[in-house]
Amino acid sequence: MSVLTCVIESMGSSCSRPHSLNEAEAAENAKSADIDRRILQETKAEQHIHKLLLLGAGESGKSTIFKQIKLLFQTGFDEAELRSYTSVIHANVYQTIKVLYDGAKELAQVEPDSSKYVLSPDNQETGEKLSEVGANLDYPLLNKETVEDVRKLWQDPAIQETYSRGSILQVPDCAQYFMNNLDRLAEVDYIPTKEDVLHARVRTNGVVEIQFSPLGESKRGGEVYRLYDVGGQRNERRKWIHLFEGVNAVIFCAAISEYDQMLFEDETKNRMMETKELFDWVLKQRCFEKTSFMLFLNKFDMFERKIQKVPLSVCEWFKDYQPTAPGKQEVEHAYEFVKKKFEELYFQSSKPDRVDRVFKIYRTTALDQKLVKKTFKLIDESMRRSREGA
């Protein structure tokens, strides 16, 4: 039956029979009205929740921030959740040693002083064995024997030499931490600690969300937040970013320590340049016209250490950087320079009508729980103030 015919017929009928709608129609109308009521109720109930979206290039620290929030403002991880990270952490160990072993082989081929990267024959055999394990997606758990193998390899001078060149390979940041804790990780009754979990690297598959209240939900005036991490999508952001139109704030994570590193997805591309492009792109998205931006200049601890050895100017964006004096002052000077670059980029990329959206920069070290807590307190104040002002 064609749609229009039905419309005409029902129009006629509701005019002439105002009181005797048949039962089925009445029930249908009631159900529909019920649904409308429920939707209205649910929408109202959520209006006060601040929605925050975590964005940033791969390995910018988004997931670590996410985990920190969980630890700080929720009940943290219970034992079952902690245990669920064991296989991930063990996999990280295999992945790390494989990257280093493969890296040493590659450097031995392409570097002029190749002998530095050649392992002892014994270790080569171990390396091949471990590399095989790392090649499958289903990693076995670590045990005493494999840990011995991993440690032997880690201590080989060629591997250490390779590790020092970590920035041109894809050596994960957690490498040192896990290698230093190998025995504990391989214990039979090993339960990951919170710190272990914070260091663990796992690719989430879709989007994760967490609801929290910095002051505790029972406290009056306590703001409620919902944080989304879409880190797991390795594809075209432009195809889904508009789903997030209407979030209250975007938390953009930029790992400032990666100015000398290349992308995992494309080893010819500098990570900082990628972050710069991404930030620029996000700022220009129509769906974020009215959204507040919180920029986290993250991995400050690693930045601090690196700046002493590797000049900022190796990154094209920072090529006009002039160092002043070595030491602590240099770190502050370099940080302020980077911060200024991001500020300039923000104002360049924001159309005149957007310049009054909220934009704040925070220096963070995602692994430092106290700092993250402090940062969120500041954000909480800022969001409350802007809500009151609105």
Partner: protein, 380 residues
């Protein structure tokens, strides 16, 4: 053993060789294609389809979503519609009365697609959770009115952009994903029956946005992708695509088989729709809008549908326009975006009812609208 540098060189050389072969192929096709559908039809003296602005009217506006509408699907039998919105809900509507029969609050609110099962008893949806969730509409809702999921199909490594049940098969469903693959699922077991693309060569090289199953031969389906191509697949042979169709210059957002099953239409970010011949791979027609006076970028085509005879091609655009194209003569006969009661925002999805008497459009203005054929012509 070849060094990394040598391998990179070989790869670059192979890519250059593929690109030059592709260019030669394109030039050859152009030579062979001496006309397109429109020019041929006009030469044959075909008259344009007569269409008045009053031939298609907005007879219903479905209001209720509190967020942008992203996807819709009609039931094959009754006139029910399921819609998915950024507010994290699926709503099932009775299109005739515009009453809501179900509202399902999703666990993951970032939903991008929804579809009705052939028997109209279940709906499927998917999105940023990289999974496809199935709901049986007959299940009991809990106290808060929430409906339980009957199955979640997991396995994709990226967002689920679209899903379609295999016609007449309640138990099989095809999804397309941001992980560059399409997957054929067995809904009863939750298993992946076949994976199209991904590790196998000849798969898409970028996010897949849309699928359309050939209703004349349900073993075949086409998929459109951000790699600007459409690929034809035989579900019995997952290891390689049957054919790849080039022509678009941007993301292919929407693909739909033509009613006779020998051709299919596409809609793209490049602002055009195209008609391709399935068997030969020829691009039969391009449906291209006039550039606007200010020479701004053409609005993107977000979704397409054919009328029941195929004479009309409906195309929804990112600026809220909804063109009705005369498929044969490649002329726009109507812009629903200019009519009274039209949408206030991007048209994100549209679909033809199974009896061909009505078109439903969904928009970022949070509404759905039903447009029915009126006047002397009920169905085209």
């Amino acid at each position: 053993m070849a060094s990394v540098a040598e391998l990179k060189e070989k790869h670059a050389a192979a890519t250059a060789s593929v690109n030059s072969l592709r260019e030669r192929l394109r030039q050859r096709r152009e030579m062979l294609l001496d006309t397109d559908v429109a020019r041929y039809s006009k030469a044959q003296g075909r008259a344009p389809v007569s269409f008045q602005p009053t031939d298609l009217v907005c007879c219903r506006t479905l209001q209720g979503h509190s967020g942008k509408v992203y996807s819709l699907d009609w039931t094959p039998e009754k006139n029910w519609i399921v819609s998915a919105s950024q507010d994290g809900r699926l709503i099932v509507w009775n299109a005739l009365t515009s009453q809501k029969t179900h509202a399902i609050k999703l666990h993951c609110p970032w939903v991008m697609t929804c579809a009705f099962a052939p028997n109209g008893q279940s709906v499927a949806c998917g999105g940023l959770d990289s999974a496809c969730s199935i709901f049986n509409l007959n299940s009991q809702a809990d106290r808060d009115g929430n409906m339980p999921v009957s199955r979640i199909l997991t396995g994709h490594k990226g967002y689920v952009s679209s899903c379609q049940y295999v016609p007449d098969q309640e138990t099989r469903l095809i999804t397309s994903s941001g992980d560059q693959t399409c997957v054929l699922w067995d809904v009863t077991t939750g298993q992946r029956i076949s994976i199209f693309g991904g590790e196998f060569p000849s798969g898409h090289t970028a996010d897949v946005q849309s699928v359309s199953i050939n209703s004349s031969n349900t073993n075949m389906f086409v998929s459109g992708s951000c790699d600007a191509t459409v690929r034809l697949w035989d579900i019995r042979i997952a290891s390689r695509a049957v054919r790849t169709y080039h022509g678009h210059e941007g993301d292919v957002n929407s693909v739909k088989f033509f009613p006779d099953g020998h051709r299919f239409g596409t809609g793209s970010e490049d602002g055009t729709c195209r008609l391709f011949d399935m068997r030969t791979g020829h691009q039969l027609q391009v449906y291209s809008r006039e550039p606007d006076r200010n020479d701004n970028e053409l609005p993107a085509v977000t979704s397409i549908a054919f009328s029941i005879s195929g004479r009309l091609l409906f195309a929804g655009y990112s600026n809220g326009d909804c063109y009705v194209w005369d498929t044969l003569l490649a002329e726009v006969v109507l812009n629903l975006g200019n009519l009274q009661n039209s949408h206030d925002g991007r048209i994100s999805c549209l679909g033809m009812s199974s009896d061909g008497s009505a078109l439903c459009t969904g928009s970022w203005d949070k509404n759905l609208k039903i447009w029915a054929f009126s006047g002397h012509r009920k169905i085209v």
